[in-house]
Each structure stands twice: as C-alpha cells, then as structure tokens.
C-alpha cells in the first residue's frame, strides 16, 4: 500500500510545478575557503571603475578609494578619488603635510574612516607612514605619523584596528616585513622578515586581508597566496594563483569574494570561482 502512495506523491511535483528542494547555499555569496586552501578566481574580468585608476581599496562600509591618472594639456597627474564600491569615483582632498612633497598611493583601512599613506620628500630625503582621517565634504585630514623603517618600498593595506598590521616590501634586503601598531602609537616589526628564501621569490607588492590571515603578493612573473591560522603566526608556504595577472596593486576582499587590480585602463576585479 505504501509503495503506490509514494509513486503518486512523487508524480505530484511535475504536475503541480513544485521544484525540487535546493540547498540554500547554492546562491550564497562566496566565502574564503578553509585556511590552508587558496581561493580560485574566475577567468572572467569585470570592470569595477571605468577610469585609469590604480591601488583600488575597499572598506567594510561600502566605500572605495583609488589613485587616478588625470590628463591635461600640460601632462598627466594623479588624483585621489573615492566613491561607493564598483561605482564612479570623484576627487577628494588629500595633500602632503609640511616637510613632504609626495604621496604614495593611499590605502583605505578596513573601517573606511581612515587611510594610511606613505609621505615622501626628495631633498632632504625623508618618508613617513601617515594616518589621515575622513572629514565631511570629501577631504582627508592628517592625524598622525608613524615611522616604520628605512628603505620602505610598497606597503600593503592595513588590517582592522585597534592594533593593525601592515606588510612592507623593503628595498634594502628585498624581504617582506610585517609591522604592528596602533593609529597613534609606534609600530614595531613583530616577526622576522620573510626572506627571498622563505617566499621562493622576491615580492614586489603584497596585499593583506582585513583580518590579517591571508596575503596575496606578486613577483615579476606570478601572483602568490599564503595564509596563517592566527594574525600573530607566520604565513605558510605560498602557492601560485594560476592565470591571475601580475600587477603591483592587487587587493583581495576579506571574504575572498573579489580580487581587484588595475589594468587595460580600468579598475578590474575577478570573482571567486572556477569558470
């Protein structure tokens, strides 16, 4: 008696248009794979911003910041621009403080209300890692300077506060150095640097996720990924992310869902996925 009843009920779905039960996570946004497993990225690039911008960073409050090239009859110069994530950007006011003449590309902190930027001066040679705070009206004001080290190359985005971490490529030993500090305090190098032997290559640029557990870095040929179980541990052995183009301004979101970069005159991103 039970078998015929089951068959009748089973036939009801096609008749009444009832869909099969789907696993709820089918359409869920991607999250990072377990630590120890590198995320895979799609081979389909998407335009995030149609403008010649680079060093695009995003925050957890939906804002983004980038350095954009502006062309005039007198030549090209950089503008610092901000806006909503994956939306057009508009210029913001961000100027070097006294004693400095240049700014490296500023990078948003995860909270979105502060940015870190390396200020430089050519003569006398000087540099400092500075914190700026977002004011109303699209301007950024200096808050504090933090001396990190001599011979700074490129700096990564910082991790979430109050104690932040940053990765720095240093021009002297070609290693990747990790510093920790607060927004107004001194920063100290907390671990031995990652040497060329540790990484298997020379890192030109590294990006650090907001939780500090994952890095993506580029050398001259490839893009590499590494992670660690806690923010105070050393990163494990890096692996290559295949087919990810080599740029020196990669930025991976904390949930690993997107990997941003500049190229082809735009800001682009790759979604996590295998297609």
């Amino acid at each position: 008696m039970r078998a015929p009843l089951f068959l009748v009920l089973a036939a009801c779905n096609p008749v009444f248009g009832i869909e099969h039960t789907q696993h709820e996570l089918t359409d869920a946004p991607p999250t990072c794979p377990p630590l120890g497993t590198a995320p895979q990225f799609s081979r389909e690039f998407q335009q995030a911003v149609f403008a010649d911008c680079h060093n695009y960073t995003t925050s957890e409050v939906g804002t983004a910041l980038a350095t954009c090239s502006m062309y005039t009859p007198k030549g090209a110069h950089d503008n610092y621009e901000a806006g909503a994530i994956n939306s057009p950007l508009t210029p913001v006011v961000l100027d070097p403080t006294a004693g400095y003449t240049g700014l490296a590309p500023p990078l948003l902190a995860p909270e979105g209300d502060v940015l870190f930027v390396q200020q430089t001066n050519q003569s006398p040679a000087a540099h400092v890692f500075s914190l700026f705070h977002s004011d109303s009206g699209g301007s950024w004001s200096w808050l504090a300077d933090t001396k990190i080290a001599n011979g700074i190359g490129a700096t990564s985005p910082v991790t979430r506060g109050p104690e932040r971490h940053v990765l720095v490529t240093q021009t002297g030993d070609l290693g990747l150095h990790e510093y920790a500090g607060t927004d107004t305090g001194a920063w100290t190098e907390i671990l031995p640097p990652y040497t060329q032997a540790d990484l298997g290559t020379i890192a030109n640029y590294a990006t650090l996720t907001a939780d500090g557990l994952r890095i993506v870095f580029s050398d001259s040929d490839s893009v590499h990924y590494a992670d660690r179980p806690s923010i105070d541990a050393r990163f494990g052995a890096p692996v290559v992310l295949p087919a990810v183009p080599v740029t020196d301004d990669l930025f991976m979101t904390e949930d690993c869902s997107r990997l941003y970069m500049s190229g082809l005159g735009d800001v682009l991103y790759l979604n996590q996925g295998s297609n």
């Binding site: 036939a11 096609p14 008749v15 081979r43 389909e44 690039f45 998407q46 335009q47 149609f50 010649d52 090239s69 502006m70 062309y71 005039t72 009859p73 090209a76 087919a243 183009p245 080599v246 740029t247 970069m261 190229g263 082809l264 005159g265 735009d266 682009l268």
Partner: protein, 272 residues
C-alpha cells in the same frame, strides 16, 4: 510529467549578429580571458579557425599563430636581419596577412609586407607599394585590418608632416594590378571630432564597419565606431564606445566579440 521541455522561441538560441548599419554594437563589461600569453595585436580570420598576434616570451618578440581562443605558437615568420616583424593583420579569408617590417629600407622606414599561407608555412610575397602615403614624412605609420579580396581596402594612419603632432587616416584600395589608390580625402582628427587619432582603424571584412582608437579629449585613447551603407562611400560620424577598455579595437566579422590585450593576456568582450 511527460518529459516535455518548456517552449522557447527559436531566436533565443541564435547567435548575435551585427546590428543594423547605423547602430553600434554594445558589449558586456565582462572580459573573458582566452589566451594567457603576453601578446598584442590579436586578429582572427572570418573564414578559418586562425588567429595571429605579436607575442613576447623568453626575451623575444615574434608573430604567433594558432586556433581562435587557443594558445599561440611561433609562426616562424622572419624578416631579413636585422628587421623586426610586428603588428600582424590577418586577411579575413585566413590565407594571408599583412605584417609590418620595421626599419625596412635605408631611410629607416617601416613597410607593410604581405605574407601568404601555403602548405602550412608563411611565405613573404613582397612589400606593398605604399610609400606615397607612409614614407612621405616620418614615422610612425600604422595599419589596420584589411577587407576581403579582391580589391582589398586598408586604413593607414600616417604623419601628415615632419612635426607629426597628429595622425591622418588614409583609406587605400588595391587595384587589380595590385597597386594602391586613395579614392577619397584622408580622415583628419578635426573632421572626425576628436582631439587626436592614435591608431589606424580596423575594417570589418565587408568594409562597412570600422573601429578607431582616438582621444576624445586630451589624454586617454578610447574606441570609436563608424559604419557606412557601402564600401565606396565615406564613413559616417564616429560614435564613442565609452565603456570599453583601452586598445579594444578588433571586432569579429559577425560583431559577436571584441578582442583586446593587456595584463599579459588576450581578452574578449561579448556583444550584448
């Protein structure tokens, strides 16, 4: 219940073709990475499964070929030492290509060489007699993709004077005796409404459509589209395709794909 599929319009499954003349094609903002090689100047044939590009690898740059969207390999195309070859432009038929010889003559001028594909090898059959347009003044000179034979059309961008502050575009037509004529006046930036022409337009195989790289304002070069009702008339006004990546200027014959290169790869955007 009986395994019948939902009814669909048959048009759903048809591939996109070119829009009507007068209407520029529109493209997705998704870039599909099809060839993970450091190549530029990617062109595809319309009548054969053949692609060609200039690729750099292991410290050398050469003309590479392969199937469309597949890895490319060195085509073995060489020029008399020490001349370099670059900027290949496949014929729509897939049986030949125009390729630039750098510094070909004693004046250091570039020339456009014709290669034919025979029995799997590329044979140089001579340089095109274009000096009337390309070597009057100084470099640079640029060449776009040709139309079908016979009487191919090709666009050449050349300096109009020694100063070379801008480029002008000449549309040349090959006569039956293989010589070239310029039936109309050249296209100048002021005529086209752009600040500066930055490359030679690529023509569609039927010669009715072209993509041109130019600067709409000072600075960034962008892609413009134009078409015309027949191959013997001048192109209509340029339309800016304003969301395309830089250097996106090769459109397939059926308008379904727009190819471009950068970031060490070759990409396309599909028509939408």
């Amino acid at each position: 219940m009986f395994g019948l599929h939902d009814t669909h319009s048959q048009a759903d499954a048809l591939p996109l073709g070119c829009p009507a003349l007068g209407t520029p094609p529109r493209f997705s903002n998704k870039f599909h990475q099809v060839v993970d090689q450091d190549c530029v100047d990617y062109t595809t044939a319309a009548d054969a499964d053949l692609a060609m590009a200039t690729c750099t690898g292991a410290g050398t740059t050469a003309v590479f070929t392969g199937s469309i969207d597949q890895p490319l390999s060195n085509a073995g195309i060489t020029a008399p030492d020490p001349i370099n070859v670059r900027r290949p432009r496949l014929f729509p038929e897939g049986n030949g290509a125009y390729i630039v010889f750098d510094n070909y003559d004693a004046n250091g001028d570039d020339e456009l060489a014709e290669f034919q594909l025979a029995n799997g090898t590329w044979q140089n059959v001579g340089v095109l007699a274009l000096s009337q347009w390309t070597t009057t003044f100084t470099l640079p000179t640029y060449f776009g993709t040709p139309t079908r034979a016979p009487n191919r059309h090709i666009m050449v961008a050349a300096c109009p004077d020694v100063i070379c502050n801008d480029l002008v575009v000449h549309e040349l037509v090959q006569k039956d005796d293989r010589s070239w004529i310029e039936p109309g006046a050249p296209y100048r930036d002021v005529d086209l409404g752009v600040v500066q022409i930055t490359d030679a337009p690529n023509l569609s195989p039927d010669g009715l459509r072209m993509l041109l790289l130019a600067e709409p304002t000072v600075g960034r070069s962008q892609t413009f589209y134009a078409d015309r009702p027949s191959i013997d008339v001048r192109f209509g006004p340029l339309v800016l395709l304003d969301t395309l990546p830089e250097n996106a200027d090769f459109l397939t014959a059926d308008c379904t794909r727009l190819y471009f290169s950068g970031l060490g790869s070759i990409f396309y955007e599909p028509q939408i």
